[in-house]
Symmetry: C2
Subunit: 124 residues, 2 copies
C-alpha cells in the first residue's frame, strides 16, 4: 500500500504523509480505517520506527488521523474535509505558477489543453 523512494529528495516522512493524504482523497482510505502500526510499517518499508512516528505525528497534528495509544492510528472523520480545504488554499500558489508560465511564453491554449486533458480523464 505504501512505498518509499529512497532516491527522492523528499524526506521519507513527508512521502508517507503525502501518500496517506492521497489515499484519503482517492477514497481508498476512509474515516475509521486503521493504518498499519508504526513498527510493522517500519519493518515493511525498511525505515526507522522514529521516521514513521514522525509522519504519524504530523498527520495527527493536521487532523488527518487520530492516534490512539495502545490501539492504533485511524483516519479522522474530517480527513477529507481538511485536505480539500488545504488544497483550496493552494489556489493562490497555483496562480503564481500560471503567471510564470505566461511570462515564459506558454500560451493560454496550452494551459487549456492540460486542464481539458486532466478533467476528461476517467470520464464516460
Amino acid at each position: 500500500m505504501f512505498q518509499i523512494d529512497n532516491m527522492s529528495h523528499i524526506p521519507v516522512y513527508e512521502q508517507l504523509v503525502g501518500q496517506v493524504e492521497m489515499y484519503v482523497l482517492k477514497g481508498i482510505l476512509n474515516p475509521g480505517d486503521r493504518l498499519p502500526s508504526v513498527r510493522s510499517l517500519a519493518g515493511s518499508l525498511a525505515v526507522n520506527p522514529n521516521t514513521i512516528q514522525k509522519a504519524m505525528a504530523e498527520l495527527d497534528r493536521k487532523g488527518i488521523i487520530c492516534s490512539v495509544p495502545g490501539k492504533g492510528c485511524f483516519i479522522s472523520d474530517r480527513a477529507g474535509e481538511i485536505l480539500k480545504e488545504e488544497h483550496r488554499g493552494e489556489l493562490k500558489e497555483f496562480k503564481e505558477q500560471l503567471r510564470r508560465f505566461r511570462m515564459a511564453g506558454i500560451g493560454r491554449d496550452e494551459i487549456e489543453n492540460c486542464v481539458d486533458e486532466v478533467y476528461s480523464e476517467g470520464k464516460k
Copy 2:
C-alpha cells in the same frame, strides 16, 4: 532590484536565482546586461559573498548568465530561450498538480477562472 526574505524556508541562493530568472522573463534584465558584483550584492543584501557566488555559479551552470573573471556577470544571449524551455518541461508537473486539485474536489470552473484571471491581467 533584488531582495531577500530571511524568514522564507527557501535558500537565499535559490531566491536570487529565481529573481534573476524572473527579471529575465519580464524583460527587465536583457542579454548583455551586467549584474551587480558578488561583493556589492553581498553588501547590499547583507548576505555572505559565498552565498551570492553560489547563486551566480548556478545561473552560470544553467547558461542564464556568463561569468567573466575580472569583468563581471552578464545575462546570456540564450537566457530567455533557456528559461522558456525549462518552463515547458514543467508542464508535466503542472498536470500532476491539476490532478490533485481535481481529487480534492476543485471543479473545472474554478481552474478556468484562475486561468482566465491570470491570462487577462494587463490586457488592453
